[in-house]
């Protein structure tokens, strides 16, 4: 219980968000999936593209065509290194878009892909990447049905950048969106967090630590289908990629106008990821995942949904971590290991390692 000397803060007069004009150039943080990314979308892209579908800001756009409800999404992949423990850029590009579609409850069906190739790119490596894209698509039950390639001068790319876009069909009775979290709902994470980000970081120049940590890159549509067999009344699904679980929960809290409270001790984190984060001064809550989902579900079906996750290979370490509250709308809080409460803010730009 907080003691009576908790510092009172006046948050009534705060203005938010800070205008984009503070940054006349793109900085790396604009791609970090945190506040800067959100502001770029809100202040620069939304006004230019404004339409009712886009303002929903889910992982996928929901479209109605001749009575069918389609989910449509796109994602671009610039990961370095191209091959990392547990995956590669091609597999990631397929799974990423499949997951964005699946987070609306849709069954992903067709993907397109575009390649920006750097002059000098090793053809055998490109072949291996394409091969693994094909395998990932087959595993996820989707077909890559359209594509494009462009080549840029040497020095103007990192070997290959890949864009994918995809569509899927939303089953009848399914209505999953970031706006649907309700007080009393239960928050479930489908497995350990931080694996992908730490696996990538372990390969980066200057860090290069030997690790057993593998990226968790996986297509989540099978898991989503298993959950929808339990109940169609799932309120929110999100895959916490860039910006990590902290940013995802903040986005949901803001979109639904609710608070989210979770218990840090219940977060599944593997020992190697926990150790790497301690060493680097990072918080696993802000580290990227590529094969996990956060589900917000009505309390009455929470245990059954958790059991369905546990029965699926991609949900074996799933855990109930907290709940949705009417208090503190738009704010995410965590109960700390020693029983106090702290705010879990959205990441600002890139997560920076601390000095000491």
């Amino acid at each position: 219980m907080p003691s009576d000397n908790a510092t009172p803060l006046d948050i009534t007069g705060w203005t938010c968000p800070v205008p984009l004009r503070n940054h006349p150039n793109i900085i790396m943080g604009h791609g970090g999936g945190g506040k800067l990314s959100a502001e770029l979308v809100e202040h620069l892209f939304m006004p230019a593209f404004s339409n009712p579908v886009l303002t929903n800001l889910g992982d996928a756009a929901e479209l109605s065509l001749n009575g069918a409800r389609l989910a449509f999404s796109t994602d671009t992949f610039t990961v370095r290194p191209l091959v990392f423990p547990g995956g590669n850029i091609g597999e990631l590009a397929v799974n990423g878009t499949v997951n964005d579609i699946a987070m609306s409850g849709a069954t992903p069906l067709f993907l397109s892909t575009g390649f920006i190739l750097e002059e000098g790119m090793d053809l055998s490596l490109l072949g291996a990447i394409a091969q693994s894209m094909g395998e990932a698509a087959a595993a996820a039950g989707v077909s890559i049905v359209a594509g494009d390639t462009k080549v840029v001068d040497k020095g103007h790319g990192d070997g290959v950048y890949i864009n994918t876009a995809g569509i899927g069909l939303i089953p009848e009775g399914v209505n999953i969106s970031p706006q649907r979290a309700r007080p009393g709902d239960v928050v479930i994470i489908s497995g350990t967090i931080g694996d992908h980000g730490i696996a990538i970081m372990s390969m980066r120049a200057g860090l290069e630590f030997d690790t057993v940590i593998q990226s968790d890159s996986a297509a989540l549509n099978g898991l989503v289908a298993a959950l929808l067999e339990v109940t169609r009344d799932i309120h929110v699904l999100r895959d916490p990629t860039r910006g990590g679980l902290a940013s995802t929960l903040n986005e949901i809290a803001q979109a639904s106008g609710v608070g989210i409270a979770f218990d840090e001790r219940k977060l599944p984190v593997t020992e190697p990821v926990r150790s790497a984060c301690e060493l680097l001064g990072l918080d696993p809550l802000y580290v990227a995942n590529e094969g996990k989902l956060a589900a917000i579900v009505p309390p009455e079906s929470a245990e059954e949904i958790l059991a369905a996750m546990h029965a699926h290979p991609l949900g074996r370490n799933a855990a109930i971590i907290g709940s949705v509250t009417a208090e503190n709308p738009g704010v995410v809080t965590a109960r700390t290991g020693i029983g106090a409460t702290r705010l879990v803010d959205m990441q600002v730009g890139e997560q920076l390692p601390r000095i000491c």
Partner: protein, 371 residues
């Protein structure tokens, strides 16, 4: 991770808190010196769990926060030069200089790289003989040995394309400055455990004696911090003033002697400006004349850069414990982690950033818990 979890045990934390609650009879102001401790206190919510009579004042021990604006401006000027690879710990990239930060310099084409050790910067210099590699050597006694090692190795290897922009600061003169300040409220210090693992505890005994102020060398995990507070409270209540080591698993009386030897070989003590505080005599390290060739301030012409701090930013009062971060008029308004006016809002170890990140909803939490 067994070696950490045992220092985060909630039941043991409760026992330490009970002990503190039983012991306290009067209000006490205790300063944790190190930014790492501030981070731990706020992240774990330790301040929420303490009795109201124990006030924690967040000290000036965040190296990012106290690095003076003028040095940041010099770093920005050097990093923007063609042919330079400017290497820094990640935290420093977002610290605002007068009109930009290192991220901005990078977006404008400067070659700014995050490294995890000065020895990585040294490697870059060896691999890029046609480029000037500059390392931003900031920090307290904790980061200094590796920086000293990098400079010593550069000299041994005869590297003429490696240099360091040095802005090292020292803890004992800062404690002395706080204790001699007329507005001082601090009655006891939690000394920075990792600084002491390098320098030992012997430097602090004269301060304890001269100012009759308890100093407890303290670690960083929740139980470490609580144990440090518990020992400080016991001393204060008993009217004692002793030097205690509550971080014995990492700190000895004499410290890391080979590291101290290397430090005195490469660095010498100098007056240093602390951002938001001002100049504290004999409170920093600079390169000795024998290593002047590796001083980036000599290699690049930045002597014309002189900078004043923002008048809006009260980080100096925050760093001296005169103002809580959220009592600053700019806190959360003009000054946020995205638009920091002062470095205390930049670094995750900075008191303002820690308050912003972990404490923003404190009033709601307290009220809802009471309701």
């Amino acid at each position: 991770m067994k070696y950490l979890e045992e220092f985060r045990d909630p039941d043991l934390a409760q026992r330490l808190l009970d002990d503190i609650r039983r012991t306290v009879t009067k209000p006490w102001a205790i300063m944790e010196v190190c930014g790492g401790q501030t981070h731990s206190i706020i992240r774990n919510g330790i301040d929420q769990l303490l009795p109201a009579k124990v006030e924690l004042i967040h000290g000036p021990g965040c190296p990012v926060c106290v690095t003076p604006l003028e040095i940041i401006d010099k770093a920005l000027a050097i990093a923007a030069q063609p042919g330079v690879i400017f290497c820094s710990f990640g935290d420093m990239l977002r610290v605002p200089g007068s009109d930009k930060d290192l991220f901005r310099v990078k977006s404008e084409g400067g070659d700014v790289r995050i490294v995890y050790s000065p020895l990585d910067a040294l490697q870059l210099a060896r691999k890029n003989p046609d480029r000037q590699v500059v390392f931003f050597g900031i920090g307290f006694e904790t980061t200094a040995p590796a920086n000293a090692m990098a400079v010593a190795q550069a000299k041994r290897l005869g590297l003429d394309n490696f240099s360091m922009l040095v802005s090292h600061v020292l803890v004992p003169p800062a404690i002395e400055a706080i204790l001699t300040s007329p507005s001082n409220r601090v009655q006891s210090f939690l000394a920075a455990g990792h600084v002491c693992s390098v320098m030992g505890t012997w430097q602090y005994a004269p301060l304890v004696e001269r100012f009759h102020t308890p100093i407890v060398v303290t670690g960083f995990e929740p139980l470490d911090v609580l144990e440090g507070i518990r020992r400080a409270v016991h001393q204060l209540e008993a009217g004692d003033a002793r030097l205690e080591n509550a971080y014995e698993r990492a700190v000895t009386f004499e410290g890391n002697v080979p590291a101290q030897k290397l430090l005195s070989e490469v660095f010498e003590v100098t007056d240093r400006t602390w951002r938001g505080i001002g100049t504290i005599p004999q409170s920093g390290w600079k390169l000795r004349p024998e290593y002047a060739q590796f001083d980036a301030e000599n290699r690049f012409d930045v002597s014309g850069i002189h900078t004043q701090e923002s008048p809006l930013c009260h980080s100096g009062e925050v760093l001296q414990g005169l103002l809580k971060p959220n009592q600053c008029p700019a806190f959360g308004r003009q000054c946020t982690p995205q638009t920091p006016l002062g470095a205390t809002m930049v670094s995750s170890e900075g008191a303002c950033a820690a308050y912003y990140r972990y404490g923003r909803a404190a009033i709601n939490l307290t009220e809802s818990a009471r309701a």
